[in-house]
């Protein structure tokens, strides 16, 4: 299947004052498949926004290349089928949501006869119906975020690049955005989603890439990302000092809960621990595989 976004060895090095250099994105290579929601994760300064800026032609890569729908991002035509929501979008304060969406529908090349219908559709879709004629200056941060989402959806683009779409939204708003993203995926759109909200990413994304210090640390489904750090808890009663040392040496941890000792250890070390407990004559109360959350995986990878 032809990837919709293809990034190959993409690198961005910023020249600093006093002759220094900073590598913001380092030889990034990955692909986004058609029809998927692709989560783009990373701590602040990981290079997410720089990557998005290169994808949209706002900045030039130092090395490497990127394509959208098979067209190099250096060519403005690559953006013909792209809707973009910047992080904390700003719009002309004197304009109303309807005017902004109308402006973007013209820029997106929506035929004149379809504009009015499309504008009203996306305004309703993001829940701005009653505020469509209110100037931006009178809208809340969350409402402006919805305007940003509306302008990104107009023109029915097949690729959506969304930078923190749930930023500034209340829990209900986040839920609506999540449902909206899922419904957009069902229409066949590809969504490139950069977000700090790991629970949102985990819920909606088909695949995830984790970026740290400009480098790609992991890529795969949320399950695949989490697998690498799967740990298991072993529950027993008391531990001897010898077993305690063995566990620490194997990178495990222990803690006491209601008279029981819970050992948390990498899954591949479980049988070693069980053997030690058996040799010491200690009871084995429970063995529970511990599923790493995406947040834990993120922290592990980003560290």
């Amino acid at each position: 299947m032809q990837p919709i976004i293809s990034i190959t060895n993409l690198t961005k090095v910023y020249k600093l004052k006093r002759g220094g250099r900073k590598t913001a994105v380092d030889s990034l290579t990955f692909e986004v498949r058609p029809g998927e929601i692709f989560g783009f994760l990373g701590p602040n300064g990981a290079g997410k926004t720089t990557t998005i800026k290169m994808l949209l032609g706002f900045i030039q890569p130092t090395a490497g290349s990127a394509e959208i729908s098979g067209i190099s991002v250096e060519n403005p035509q690559a953006r013909i089928n792209v809707g973009y929501l910047p992080e904390q979008p700003y719009f002309y304060k004197f304009m109303t949501p309807r005017e902004i969406v109308a402006m973007h529908s013209s820029l997106a090349g929506v035929p004149r006869q379809d504009r009015r219908t499309q504008i009203e559709q996306v305004i309703e879709l993001v829940g701005l119906g009653e505020l469509a004629s209110t100037p931006i200056s009178k809208l809340s941060k969350g409402q402006v975020q919805r305007v940003g989402l509306a302008q990104s959806l107009v023109g029915n683009p097949q690729v959506l690049i969304l930078d923190e779409p749930a930023s500034g939204l209340d829990p209900l708003g986040r839920r609506q955005i999540r449902d909206l993203l899922i419904s957009q995926r069902e229409t066949g759109k590809t969504i490139f989603l950069s977000s700090h909200l790991l629970s949102e990413i985990e819920t909606v994304c088909d695949r995830v890439a984790v970026l740290a210090k400009g480098k790609l640390m992991a890529i795969g489904t949320p399950e695949e990302i989490k697998q690498g750090g799967t740990r298991t808890t072993v529950t027993t009663t008391e531990l001897t000092p010898e077993i305690m040392s063995e566990i620490k040496a194997a990178g495990g941890t222990t803690h006491r809960i209601e008279g029981e000792t819970v050992i948390t250890i990498n899954t591949d070390e479980v049988f070693t621990v069980i053997d030690s407990l058996r040799k010491a004559g200690l009871p084995l109360l429970a063995v529970t595989p511990e599923q790493e959350s995406l947040e834990e995986a993120f922290l592990r990878l980003a560290a």
Binding site: K53, R79, Y90, F91
Partner: protein
């Protein structure tokens, strides 16, 4: 082309809401309208003073608005990030620059149109309306376009404050280039400083050539060849400035 016009329209709507536009336009309009107080003079003198005062006001207002609006149009958009959703559309940076430029000079022209109409009404009331007024106004618009292009170009390379400052200097120096600047440069004895002075002299646009105030006031004939020459000069200088601005903006990291 439609993308350019959409950006131009939005830019014009944005600029027309700026305080500097209202203040400068209203002040100039006040000066133009206050010229009715010139009734103490005889009609002939009255008309001459009216033409002189109004044309000076129009040129000054146009220059100030062009500098103030063009120097800030692009940097403020980058600073407030309003350009991101627009540039994420399938438009080129050249289209964006042209749209912003057209929107900016359209705003200045809107202000000058209001003042120009007031001026024309005052002249008509004194039966002194003639074709030279249109000529003088058209060339004032050409001058404004050139000044705006210079300010626009400078704003791509520097901060808005620096762009405003240098553009104002260029506007002032360009307006007194032949009368004073050449005199100043010719008086320098040091060949190196004189060479640098001459370089700046040729670099600065000759805004005086767009000023047909004297022809309007004293009803002097203007040769057609000269008019064509000035128009070509204005268009070429403006185009050159916009080309430089576009080339620089195309490589600018946003």
């Amino acid at each position: 082309m439609s993308s350019v016009l959409i950006i131009a329209k939005t830019t014009m709507l944005e600029n027309a809401r700026k305080q500097v536009f209202h203040v400068v336009t209203l002040l100039t309009l006040t000066v133009v309208c206050a010229s009715v107080l010139l009734s103490v003079f005889t009609l002939g003198v009255q008309v001459k003073i009216l033409k002189d005062l109004c044309m000076t006001s129009i040129l000054f207002c146009g220059g100030i608005l062009a500098v103030a609006l063009a120097s800030t149009a692009l940097p403020s958009e980058i600073e407030t990030r309003t350009c991101y959703p627009v540039l994420a559309r399938p438009i080129t940076r050249t289209q964006h620059i042209l749209g912003k430029y057209l929107g900016t000079i359209s705003t200045v022209y809107l202000g000058l149109a209001v003042i120009g109409i007031a001026f024309a009404v005052l002249l008509a009331a004194r039966s002194a309306l003639d074709g030279l007024l249109i000529l003088a106004l058209v060339y004032a618009l050409l001058e404004v376009a050139l000044v705006a292009a210079v300010a626009f170009c400078l704003s791509v390379f520097s901060t808005p404050a620096v762009a405003v400052m240098i553009s104002l200097l260029v506007f002032i120096a360009g307006s007194v280039k032949i009368g004073y600047f050449s005199h100043l440069v010719n008086g320098i004895s040091n060949p190196v400083i004189k060479g640098a002075g001459l370089f700046i002299y040729h670099l600065i646009p000759n805004l005086e050539s767009f000023n047909f105030k004297d022809a309007l006031v004293h009803q002097l004939p203007v040769p057609e060849a000269y008019l064509a020459q000035v128009a070509i000069y204005g268009v070429c200088y403006t185009a050159f400035m916009l080309t430089v601005a576009t080339a620089a903006f195309a490589k600018k990291e946003l």
